[in-house]
Each structure stands twice: as structure tokens, then as C-alpha cells.
Amino acid sequence: MLSLLVRRTAQMLFVMAGISILVFLIFFATPGSDPASRIAGRNASPEVLAAVRHDFGLDRPLPVQYALMMQHLFITHDLTSFVNRGQRVIPEVIEAAPVTLSLVLGAAVFWVIGSIGIGVLAAATRDSVVDRLLMAAGLIGISMPVYWLGEIVNLVTQSRFHDTWLFSWVPPLGYTAFTEDPWLWFKTLLLPWMTLAILYIGLYGRVLRANLVEAMQEDYIRTARAKGLSESRILLHHALRTSLIAFVTLFGLDFGALVGGGALLTEVVFGLQGVGKLTYDALRNLDLPVIMATVMYASFFVVFANALVDITYATLDPRVRLA
């Protein structure tokens, strides 16, 4: 188990290093235009351009530039936005992080609970109307752009039906910290959580159902039946436990997509000032330092979360621990 931990951590660091190099290459080494003018933003004066060249060492060899970039990003934290006149980027990112974390972790909870519920229910009522309806709903969930769904949710809850008892509790768009007002925090995030989770509930509900149905054909299920166990115990303790393993593996992969894409779009649509919204604003303004920072920090977070998931996977599946 310990060797697994060490190996996985080493792998995680390797990947993080690789990602940082890739980000560096994309932003600094893509042929086509001068990185300085890209970073400095539109209408940059020659002095600013010169300052950028100096700060990032653009006249020095690539490895030095890489080192300088990493320093600005992680050590000195003094990366500044040129579009927003000297605004320190890293503190901005750190300040926006709790919003994104609240969104992402809450959505993950909904995602896991929702998809396990749907998967188990669909597998238990296999081939019935309930099963078909659930799978159809899941399929539709997978096919919707999350930002579009968010806009429709807003349309319904903020505008069209806002005055009905159904949605009058929905607060106006924007974020309130948990520390300020926990109940308001919850109410603000409830709809974004569900919107973000629908895509993944649909996907994972289907995958889990397929895994469960397959697991129920296995020999050990026949044994469990021969032991005189009830069908529900067999489904929940034997089939589900074994199927959760595959579930957890996939979870790690999609968590990255959730953070990188889904969360960003959801923050934009629901007016939550998280890292995603920050990135979005930077995209509209072509504020490259901000984008570099958010991409880097978000990617690292995802890689770290994946490593955590992998280690959980090892606890769930004893066969992996010895590997």
C-alpha cells in the first residue's frame, strides 16, 4: 500500500511537471506571434512590452523563461494582469477558489448519489418501464450543453416562475460565502449543483446500470444466490461493490472535465465569481496572465484529485493493492 502511494505521488508530480511544460509551450512558444504582445494585451505601450520582456525573460533561452514563469506563478505570486492594470493575478485566483470548490464538490456529491441511485434502480427494475424512462432521461441529460441548461433553469426560476411557490426561494444570481450566510449559500448553489450534475448523472447512471447488469451474470452472483441471500442484498452488496470499482475509475477522468469545462460554464451562467468566471472574463479581454494562472492552478487541482481518486480505488479493490 505504501509503495502504491509513493508510486502514485511520483506519477502525479511527473504529470504536473508535464502539464506545466505544456502550458508554458502553448503560451510562450506557439509560433505565430510575439509572446510579449500576447501577454501584454491589446494596445500595450512600448514600455509595457519591454517590461514584459524583462519579467518573463523573453530574450533569454526557453528553459529560463520556463523557470521564470513558474517562479511568477508559484513562488513569488507576483504575476500581474496587464489588462487590469497591475492587478495581482494569483491572489485573485486564490480568492475565487472557494467559490469554485463549493460548486464542484457539491455537484460531485449530487453526481455520485444521483447516479448510484439511478443505476441501482434501473438495474433492479431491469427492462421495465422505470428502467427505460431512467435511461432515456439519462441520455437526454448527456446531450444537453450545460450552459444552455443553466440558462433555461435561470429563465424558469429567475424570471418566468420566480413568483410561484416553487421557485420564490431562488436568490438572485451571485455568490454568498458559506461563512457569511450558510443557508443563503446553500440556496444559491442548489440549482447550479443540480444543473452541473445532470450531465454526469445521466452518463454514470447508464454506465453503472450496464456494469451492474453485467456483474449480475457473473459466477459469484450465482454463488450468492445459492447461499440463500436476498436479491436486494446480492445487488447492493455483491454486484454494486464490484461495479463501483469501474465507476470510481471513470469518476476521476470526468472530474477533470467537470472542473475544467462544466464548472466554468456554470459559473458564467449563474453569476458565481469563481475561478471559471475569472477565466471567462479573461477570455473576453484576452488577458493572458490570468488565463495562464487559472489553467495551471485548475489543472494541478484536477491532477491532484485524480491521484486521490486512484488511491481510493486501491482501497476499494483489494486486487489492485498487490499489483
Partner: protein, 335 residues
Amino acid sequence: MEGALLDVRDLRVSFRTERGLLRAVDTISFRVDTHEIVGVVGESGSGKTVSLMSVMGLITDPNAVIEGSILYKGRELVGLSQRQLRSVRGSEIAMIFQDPMTALTPVYTIGWQIEEQIRAHLDLSRTQARRRAIELLGEVGIADPASAVDRFPHELSGGMRQRAFIAMALSCKPSLLIADEPTTALDVTVQAQILELLGKLRRDFGSSIIIVTHDLGVVAEIADRVMVMYAGRIVERVSKRDIFTRPWHPYTWGLHDSIPPLQGKKPHRLPSIPGSPPSLTSLPPGCAFSPRCRYRFDRCAERPALEGEEGHAAACHLSLEERARLYASRRREAP
């Protein structure tokens, strides 16, 4: 005749398929008494596994049709609800399967799985169940049961896994144990140990055992009586000794001949039964074995009944004298 432990009468198991009705088990009858070990011999597709799975109602295919009567201790099992069957499974009748690697849930320790079985039928606390599990593992010959109980199935060797499986099956002291090819997936040396264990169980636990196998050697080792099945039908019912000294069915002769002889002249080529097992959706109208039978004649177009004497019966139209003559001439033939 007093009531048997298991009395199967006219059992028929069919499956509705796209290609028609598949008769996996075609009207078989047999009984198992207490303290008996009955062997069921046949090729794959002979219906041996299906008939025994239907004893416990383990056939979950919605296209399956089960008819006939299965009396266990006088109680009719055919037609029971799943809930009623659950009280029988594991506690009265237990089953062990061919490959213990795939037949045990990979994510739980064997101790956990044995405890689960115990607590499903007996009212014991966790600690009591665990103690019982360790006891059982010791009784089936696993060394250091106290640490084995916390191992996962993949951490044990094949032989130990099968022993653990047997321990689990016996945990509620079933009166009948059905063993479906318990040694097929194991090495030959381990096979012998497992068979010895099963024999010991009959002595110590008093359970009857039905052992399914395609290997006559296994039968020779521990069975008291043997049932030979072909294409879903019983073709011969015989005692262990008679199956080797005076078998009464051409199929059994064929099974015999394919065992390499220990003494005598080394055969040029190991004889095998010509042809291949029939497709169960397109069986011939009479004797199922006739297409492959050297001795078939026109009466074989009619299905033969299982006839004979007490303790020995076969389904063949050839007269007993004829069969004795043919068998003797086979023994004299150089292979």
C-alpha cells in the same frame, strides 16, 4: 421404501429460444438417500448442471420452463416462490461450483463471505459467526485458519480456495451438498485432496453429496452410485462397481474406452465416440445417442425406456444378452 432425501420425478427443463424449444433436461427421475454419494456423469450439454441447478431453483432465465416434481424431505420444491426457496438454499441444500476463483466475490474476504452465509440462516452474532468460520476453515484442512479467514480469494491457492468454498457451503450443516465439477479447475494432486475431503464430509457431517463430473476417475474415487446422462436424459443408472465391470449402455462403453488403460497393451490410438454431442434443438425422435451408436438398428427410432433391475438400469433397445455379448467382444478388440 422410506422417504428419500431427494426424490426427483419426471423433471423437464426447457428453454424457449429463437430456434425453438430447447429440451435441456428431458424427463429424468432419480433419488438420493441420506449418507449417499451419487455421481452424475456426462459431457457438456448433457443436462447435468441444469438439472441440479433447477433443484435449488437457481435457473433465473425467464425463458426457462421447469416441469415435474422435486421432493426434498417430502417437500415439493418446484413452484416455490423465491423467498421460500431462499430458506432452503444454503441451509438445507448447498452447492459448490467449478471455479472457486470466479465463484467467490473478489472484493470480500473469505471470512466475510462465510459469515454472510452463516448469518443469513442462523441467528449468530458477528463474533460468533467469525469463530464458526475459523472453525470450519480448520475442519476442511486449511492451515492457520485464523489468518486465512481475513484473506481475499485471489490471495489463496486454487486448492485452498475450493476448500474455503466447501467450508462456506457446509457452514449451515446442509443435508445435501451438490458439487458441480468441483475438481475440474484444479491440479490433479489437489483434486485427490478435495475428493478425499468430500468423502470425509459424508462421514463426519452426514451430508449426502451429488457430484457432477465428466471424469469417470472422480466417480471411481468417491461415488456410491452413478447416473450417466446424455442429451438431457439418463441413459444408465448403476452402482460404482458395476459401471466398471458391467456397464449396460453403449455410451458408457464409449466413455470407458476413452480412459487410457493402466495395464495391457498400449493402444495405438485412444478410441473416441464418433460424432459430436447433438444440438439440443434438433434431437432425433428416438434414442438421442443412436446417431453415434455403432449398434443402432431400426427400433432405435423409438425412445427407449430406462429398464433393468434394482440398482442397475439402462435406456437401450438391445436386449441384455446382446449387450453383454457386444461388450465382451469390445473388450477383446484391439483398440
